[in-house]
């Protein structure tokens, strides 16, 4: 007779085999022949209720911010650009680290943060229940399908109509080499359709602090700078390609401003000489090498030398 197996053994086999608590993966040879998963989305509306927002703020301010501020040395610039704006707006940023959303949400003033939701990739952030719940609660996250299309933006539109600001990363995924990737047009399309201001944000140094593949920042409190730029207002008759290009340019100017000064960056922008932020041409290692170069510390000068 076959050996009897206890419930614990069975549970362990199922938990291991189906990677409970981790992202489900399929056998390699089954890729391409696997039926699409059911179109079920983790419910997130509860996280945007009053109670959910109070809890979110408590977690962001009471836990996330102290951790990030303790492990890295963030500085924030340009929040004054928000003063004359009215919700809803779309915050867009380059995306190179898991720190990005936390940095934006913890640097936003409370009145903005309280009504800001983050678009998060459904296949990554909403794959297992605990990650879904964490994303919804802490980031006010809602699932967005990377494939695009009407379904992908339906929830975003619903939130905008309800007066919510959105945090969107137009690259769609984190950069693997620290440089900015091609912007997907869905973000510009959405901004045009909803006629909402787009606030560009450049996050400099997050890749060097915690690149893709790391789950904790590097030692030594690496510096990070979050620069808010002037809002872009969709123009009458503007195409989504044009708006997308303006968005990329705005972020590139913020990078330039970070590297030099606001004045120099403005002059270069006026002459169309803003340096590209898509990185150097060349082998992958070179791009990673350049992208992960620690940024210089500046800002507060030591009181004495």
């Amino acid at each position: 007779m076959a050996a009897k197996r206890s419930l614990t053994d069975e549970l362990r086999d199922v938990a291991e085999g189906w990677r409970w608590g981790r992202r489900p993966i399929m056998p390699r040879s089954a890729e391409g022949v696997t039926a699409p998963a059911e179109r079920w989305s983790f419910p997130t509306d509860w996280a945007r209720t009053s109670a959910g927002r109070v809890a979110r703020d408590a977690i962001l301010v009471g836990a996330m911010k102290p951790i990030v501020w303790n492990e890295t040395a963030p500085q924030v610039f340009g929040l004054d650009h928000l003063d004359h704006l009215r919700a809803p707006v779309m915050f867009i940023s380059n995306h190179s680290s898991h720190l990005d959303a936390t940095l934006i949400l913890t640097t936003l003033p409370l009145k903005w943060r309280d009504k800001t939701a983050t678009a998060a990739a459904k296949d990554y952030f909403f794959d297992v229940w605990w990650r879904s719940a964490f994303t919804a609660l802490v980031y006010g996250g809602f699932p967005i399908e990377r494939g695009g299309g009407e379904r992908a933006t339906a929830k975003a539109k619903e939130l905008i109509r309800d007066g919510w600001n959105l945090v969107v990363f137009p690259e769609g995924t984190r950069s693997t080499d620290g440089w900015v990737q091609r912007f997907r047009h869905g973000t510009a399309r959405l901004a045009l359709e909803m006629q909402m201001p787009v606030v560009p944000i450049a996050i400099v140094g997050a890749y060097a602090a915690m690149p893709k593949g790391r789950s904790w920042p590097k030692r030594g409190r690496p510096p990070i700078r979050v620069r808010y730029g002037e809002a872009l207002i969709p123009r009458e008759g503007e195409s989504h390609q044009d708006l997308s290009l303006r968005m990329q340019r705005a972020i590139a100017e913020l990078f330039d401003e970070d590297r030099t000064s606001w004045w120099e960056a403005r002059r270069r922008a006026a002459n169309g000489e803003t340096p590209k932020i898509t990185g150097p041409a060349g082998p992958t290692w070179l791009r990673v090498w350049e992208g992960s170069r620690p940024i210089r510390r500046h800002g507060h000068r030591p009181t004495w030398r």
Binding site: M1, L7, L11, D13, V14, W18, P27, R28, S29
Partner: protein, 528 residues
């Protein structure tokens, strides 16, 4: 369009795989690199089955419409596939019921009065009233049972007719009423390519005198394969084709109605059994765990009852009517669309899980001989071109092989197991030395005719079905099998899959290629 079958290569991402083991199932981890053959997904079912039946009867292949064949004063006999089909039995309404109701409605409208219905059970056990009622539906049952709706009796000399002999000397003896009717309508469920075509009448309504010509060791050894009925590929089908010609030449008019079903085998409660493992939802993982533990804990008789009450949600995928050859050609095409899976090359080891049910233990017990019939007999032979396993390879099957028999249904099996297999397991020796004695034993014949027993010769046929595999394979190892029962049948029993692979290494070496035939649902490996 349904997703086709495919062959998975086990890697470190592959979860443990479901494997059936009699009235149980388990998850088993397979060595990296093993190939797993999965059946295609269920084809979409016909929504309006009655409409499809009406259209098939009105516009048949190779025949006039049925309505034109039905005339006042004629003798009409309707034969119906018996309890061995489908597997598991269908949720009501059974497709046979739907077909019968349309045929009888046409007969009534056309003034036919003399109608007899026969369950085409050949040498199988008689069906009970409730079993017949489930198959034919309450309306047909109430109208015809028991006077005009009966089980075929292959040992009733008064109702058998010798029809003729084929050019190879095979005798054809059929149900007399069917043979003497003006029209014989055969209502079939074609579950696998082995069934249907000329096998329906040539076996279902035949006697031992006739069946023995194709259910014998020589024929079954030369049927490569049972699932490939094309001329020259399967001796059993060639024999049946010759018999079909004799029947046609004798002027017996057969109007064949064949139906095909999809792969939707298990009801929703057991939905995880219909799905590929890595696609199991959390709910299905939980259902597996709950079902597995309940099944392990439950007392054996209760467990047996639960399994036997499973009714499959099979959907009808095709209805074809007309002349036997024209209809069967279309039926096979539909079957292949549902069941064929392309497999590249053979393996050293074939792994199968023998499920709780086969054609001969519906509402009964799967005794060791039926395990042999299902494993080396049927599942091994679910291929086209060549077997999934190489010559001299090993078959590892999962089944408890309990030393247990249904005393009413399988009396001759008990004696076959105790007397015949105790002496030899060689099919040819068994055939020459014991078959006639069992086939003509008056007590077995009495039990077959008056009780609900399989014919005395039936266990022999079960053994012969496995003759090809026994001749072909180097070893058969049964994981979890009763040691004594396995030993009696010439198998080796292993406690675990790992032990079985270890034992197989004597025959196929330490690094064999392994193929797991992930069945049920039914499928046929098209091995290239």
């Amino acid at each position: 369009m349904a997703r086709p079958g495919f062959v998975l290569e086990v890697d470190e991402r592959t979860p443990p795989l479901l494997i059936h083991q009699g009235e149980g199932f388990r998850l088993e981890k397979f060595p990296l690199g093993s190939r797993v053959i999965y059946p295609p997904d269920a084809l979409s079912k016909i929504r309006d089955v009655r409409g499809a039946i009406r259209r098939a009867l009105a516009d048949p292949h190779g025949s006039e419409p049925l309505a034109e064949l039905l005339k006042p004063g004629m003798k009409l006999t309707i034969a119906i596939d018996d309890i061995s089909l489908p597997l598991p039995p269908m949720q009501a309404p059974d497709v046979r019921q739907l077909v019968l109701e349309e045929v009888i409605e046409l007969a009534a409208r056309n003034g036919v009065e003399d109608i007899k219905l026969y369950m085409a059970n050949s040498l199988h056990r008689r069906m009970t009233g409730p079993e017949i009622k489930h198959a034919v539906g309450e309306r047909v049952y109430r109208s015809f049972y028991p006077k005009d709706l009966k089980n075929h009796d292959a040992e009733d000399p008064d109702n058998l007719l010798f029809v003729g002999t084929t050019d190879k000397g095979e005798e054809v003896e059929l149900n007399k009423r069917a043979a003497e009717s003006d029209l014989l309508v055969y209502v079939n469920i074609n579950l696998v390519a082995l069934d249907g075509g000329h096998k329906s009448v040539g076996t279902g309504l035949a006697s031992y005198r006739s069946v023995r010509h194709h259910h014998n060791v020589h024929t079954l050894l030369h049927s490569n394969s049972y699932m490939d009925p094309r001329a020259g590929h399967s001796a059993i089908h060639d024999s049946l084709r010759r018999m079909g010609k004799v029947i046609a030449d004798a002027g017996i008019r057969v109007f064949t109605i064949e139906t095909t079903l999809n792969n939707d085998t298990f009801p929703e409660q057991f939905g995880f059994m219909n799905k590929r493992e890595w696609e199991w939802s959390t709910k299905e993982q939980a259902t597996y765990l709950a079902a597995r533990k309940l099944n392990d804990m439950g007392p054996s008789p209760a467990k047996h009852q639960v399994w036997m009450r499973i009714r499959s949600p099979h959907g009808v995928t095709g209805v074809n009517a007309g002349s036997t050859d024209a209809v069967h050609e279309r039926t096979l095409a539909k079957l292949h669309e549902q069941q064929l899976v392309e497999v590249d090359g053979q393996s050293d080891v074939l792994v199968i899980g023998v499920p709780y049910l086969g054609p001969y233990n519906v509402n009964s017990i799967m005794n060791p001989i039926l395990v042999h019939c299902m494993g080396p007999g049927y599942i091994f032979n679910m291929y086209r071109n060549k077997p999934v396993v190489r010559p001299g390879g090993v078959m590892i099957m999962f089944h408890p092989v309990p030393w247990e028999f249904h005393q009413v249904h399988h009396p001759s099996y008990v004696d076959f197991f105790e007397e015949v297999l105790a002496e030899t397991t060689d099919p040819s020796t068994i055939e020459s030395k014991f078959e006639e004695q069992y086939a003509t034993d008056p007590w077995y014949i009495h039990l077959y005719r008056k009780s609900y027993a399989y014919h005395g010769v039936h266990p022999f046929y079960m053994w012969y079905w496995g003759a090809h595999a026994l001749d072909y394979l180097g070893d058969v190892i049964v994981v979890g099998g009763n040691r004594k029962a396995c030993e009696r049948m010439g198998y080796r029993a292993a406690t675990t899959f790992r032990d079985a692979l270890e034992m197989a290494s004597d025959t196929v070496g330490r690094s064999p290629s392994i193929a797991y035939f992930h069945m049920p649902p039914f499928m046929v490996a098209d091995v290239r």
